[in-house]
Amino acid sequence: MDAPLALQGVGAAYGRIEVLHGVDVAVPNGGVAALLGPNGAGKSTTLAVMSGLLTPTRGCRHVRGKHLNHVGAEALSRLGVCLIREGRSVFPNLSVADNLTVAASNGASIDRLTEVAFTLFPRLRERRKQLAGSLSGGEKQMLALARGLGTDPSVLLIDELSLGLAPIVVGQLYDAVAQVAQAGVSVLVVEQFATLGLRYASHAYVMAHGNIAYSGPSEGASDAVQAAYLGAAT
């Protein structure tokens, strides 16, 4: 069976500056993969290409085996690709309830989304009339993640879930991610904290300088991670 979302030899550029030089990444069917790498390795850019925010300059983006290079983020979102951006990706001037309404724009059922969100994160129910901008960091991340969990995506891409959050909240969020992965959603997490990412993932990709330096089972990734983070001679 085809991977729900895969990049093959993808290059991507901001203006004239190329930042991905032929990247191969496939989100495993119904599992968790981790995308690791130091600052500036191209992890977020890879996710931007996967979610349709950036168009590949070369190579292919495949969704369930279909070549879809020139399809934008809106359409991919309707095809079940869901990216949770880095850093509290919510609409600050919309209430929690409105954030959920907008999250259902990809055709998901708003009732189900609300139910999932409020069951997993009861704190959101208390604050549903509040502006999302006034939530705490953890609550914002819960709201952002609720979209990924409640809109029944086929692929869930998560960028730096743990950034700036207390360990206890991080654990809570990752448990929720593990739950949906078990339900059959394919998940790709980007993490700077390599050990944290590797704990939940079965497959790992390590990026360095816009290339994939390692691709394989997460147990064998630690050497590649060290090399990428500490800059060993390659």
Partner: protein, 634 residues
């Protein structure tokens, strides 16, 4: 006291119409990031369409109103969205120029389809029906205005805060990228906001026009007045916009109270300038806020020609013009003059926009000042008259730029247009300034040679244009020019380097006004007698379009703009079937060149002068990749 009460009441009612128009503007701006300068023109065309249906075809009022507001306007809004989608993410200057082009295009359309020679009296929506409230007679129309405005305000509030579509609209405002990730159809949302915006503009236009004899320019400016109200709401807040609209209506209406003013018609004209004044004050006093403005005109700084090259080009121009007017047919002479005069006006825009990156929408005011002074000073036909005109225009330029020097981008453009509106009502339209039948302006004698003939005057215009163009090149190459380039690239960075950003901006406005003033003297000489309609603020918009199409960043662009203008007028005069086509052609050209700020001149230069640039990108890319690779190894 009854008088005050009466005008307060009327003011609130007038404010309600402003509110309807300005809320549409705000909605479109917040959702799409485009300040639709054409809002006023849309209202104007809608009023004409309403007239056609209601009066010419005798359609009942509610049906005619519904067709215009709920059908025609939204369809036009859809077309506008399609047109402007190409420019999404462009800098403010691009979308401003494109919507100015729309304004001019719609004005041209109205002039062509609905000639201003015919009377078009639009009846009140409810006829003459009226009632009396505390001895003030109030027509049903006024009541309808209030009811509609309140309904629109609450309707918009309901739409935005209680419907999924509204939540999506606000989501797009908040974070467009995240909205796309959420699967929000941004095109659909943009379409909705354009349709609503246009419908409200149309509604405002029809309400303003009801009970009047429609005039395209007057009506456009009337809806344009609502921009001041939108600025009070910082282009984002609907309640504040409503408040701004009420204030504007109140100021305008209460200024009619007789005992507020001393006698004399000096103040009569100030009263008419209140909307312009309101716009300028709103832009100046409402604490500045971040607009979704990006980079400013011109991505690459065009190569600056050397002085020698420019001087030679000037000589060639003068000789060429001399040859053309002496050897060519006599009928051509007046067109050559017109082209050169227009080129000189465009040159003043090159000075302000090309050098500093700001857009000025008030050049015709300086033109008028220059023409006026040239006609009054030194006998009205003297070179010193022209220089004096330039100097006085420069002083006015300083006065106009001083309050707005801290502004930039859209704010600055709007404040300059507000100044143009004030000047139109308070100064230029005053019969004591230009006289009832216009003011005569002569052509000077140069070193004992008369330029009263068209041929000689054309050569003189070529000389003035060349000298001023050379001056622009000198300024650009100077220390001052480098400061301007720095400010144009980043005002903040320039300020941290200790440059006097505001002073520099004021000076460049003065410099541009000087050029426009000199152009004014030529303009006066060309038309022999100047009159108020020649200096309508709308003309400033038209010349901005010509300058943009020609190329607002280069001196040669100004020349091309003049050539283009003259050729269009020439075509019009030769083929009467084309009459009124100038506005339409230039609007279309500006829209299609929207992404090419260096205009025709830029395209021509990149074709002829720098062939190496066209092969460069691939090479540069390879170099950059190499550079990154090297950087990442270390």
């Amino acid at each position: 006291m009854t008088e005050l009460f009466q005008y307060t009441l009327f003011g609130l009612m007038l404010g309600c119409v402003y509110a309807i128009a300005s809320m549409g503007l705000v909605l479109t701006y917040t959702v799409t990031g485009v300040f639709n300068f054409a809002h006023g023109a849309v209202g104007m065309v809608a009023a004409y369409a309403y007239f056609e249906l209601r009066v010419t075809h005798n359609v009942p009022t509610p049906i005619a109103l519904a067709i215009v507001v709920l059908l025609l306007a939204p369809i036009t809004g859809l077309a506008a969205e399609r047109l402007l989608r190409r420019f999404r993410g462009a800098d403010y200057a691009t979308s401003l120029v494109v919507t100015i082009a729309l304004t001019v295009g719609l004005l041209g359309f109205a002039a062509k389809v609905f000639p201003s020679t015919d009377d078009r009296n639009i009846p009140f929506l409810f006829g003459d029906r009226r009632f009396v409230l505390a001895s003030v007679p109030i027509t049903y129309d006024r009541v309808a205005q209030v009811v509609i405005a309140i309904a629109v305000a609450f309707g918009l509030r309901f739409l935005l805060f209680s419907t999924p579509l509204g939540a999506r609209m606000r989501a797009v405002v908040d974070d467009p990228e995240l909205a796309r990730l959420n699967g929000v159809r941004s095109v659909f949302v943009a379409r909705c906001s354009w349709m609503i915006g246009f419908a409200l503009a149309a509604l405002g236009g029809v309400l303003f026009a009801a009970g009047t004899n429609v005039n395209a320019i007057v009506l456009t400016l009337l809806v344009l007045n609502a921009y001041g109200a939108a600025m009070v709401g910082r282009l984002t807040s609907l309640p504040m916009t409503f408040l701004g609209a009420l204030l504007l209506g109140l100021f305008q209406s209460i200024s009619n109270v007789s005992w507020l003013w001393p006698d004399g018609d000096l103040f009569a004209r100030v009263r008419l300038a209140i909307p312009g004044l309101f716009l300028v004050l709103a832009v100046l006093l409402v604490p500045s806020f971040r607009l979704s403005a990006g980079r400013i005109v011109g991505r690459d700084q065009p190569t600056v020609p050397t002085l020698r090259r420019s001087a030679m080009a000037g000589m060639v121009l003068i000789l060429g013009v001399a040859a053309l007017v002496n050897l060519g047919p006599d009928s051509l002479q007046s067109h050559v003059v017109r082209g050169l005069v227009m080129a000189t006006i465009a040159l003043s825009l090159v000075a302000v926009t090309g050098l500093s990156g700001q857009i000025s929408l008030t050049q015709y005011l300086f033109l008028g000042v220059g023409a006026f002074v040239a006609g009054k000073a030194f006998g009205g036909d003297n070179v010193f008259g022209m220089l004096a005109g330039g100097a006085v225009a420069a002083v006015i330029g300083v006065l106009a730029a001083l309050p707005s020097a801290r502004l930039r981008g859209l704010h600055l453009a709007l404040s300059t247009f507000g100044i143009a509106l004030i000047a139109r009502e308070a100064i230029i339209a005053d019969p004591r300034v230009l006289g009832r039948s216009g003011l005569a302006v002569g052509r000077p004698d140069i070193l004992g040679l008369s330029t009263s003939g068209d041929a000689a005057f054309a050569v003189w215009c070529a000389v003035v244009f060349s000298v001023l163009a050379l001056l622009v090149v000198v300024v650009r190459r100077s220390w001052f020019g480098r400061q301007l380039t720095a400010i144009r690239d980043s005002e903040l960075a320039a300020a941290t380097l200790g440059m006097h950003v505001r002073l520099t901006k004021v000076l460049v406005f003065a410099f541009a006004a000087f050029i426009a003033g000199c152009a004014g003297a030529l303009f006066g000489g060309m038309s022999a007698s100047i009159d108020q309609p020649q200096f309508e603020p709308v003309n400033s918009l038209v010349i901005v379009l010509f300058a943009f199409v020609g190329g607002i960043t280069t001196v040669s662009g100004a020349g091309i703009a003049g050539l283009l203008f003259a050729s269009l007028v020439y075509a019009e005069s030769t083929y009467p079937g084309l009459s009124g086509v100038v506005f339409l052609v230039i609007a279309a050209a500006a829209i299609s060149l929207g992404r090419q700020p260096d205009g025709i001149a830029g395209i021509a230069l990149s074709l002829f002068r720098r062939p190496e640039r066209r092969t460069a990108p691939a090479e540069a890319e390879a170099r950059e990749r190499e550079f990154i690779a090297v950087g990442s190894v270390s």
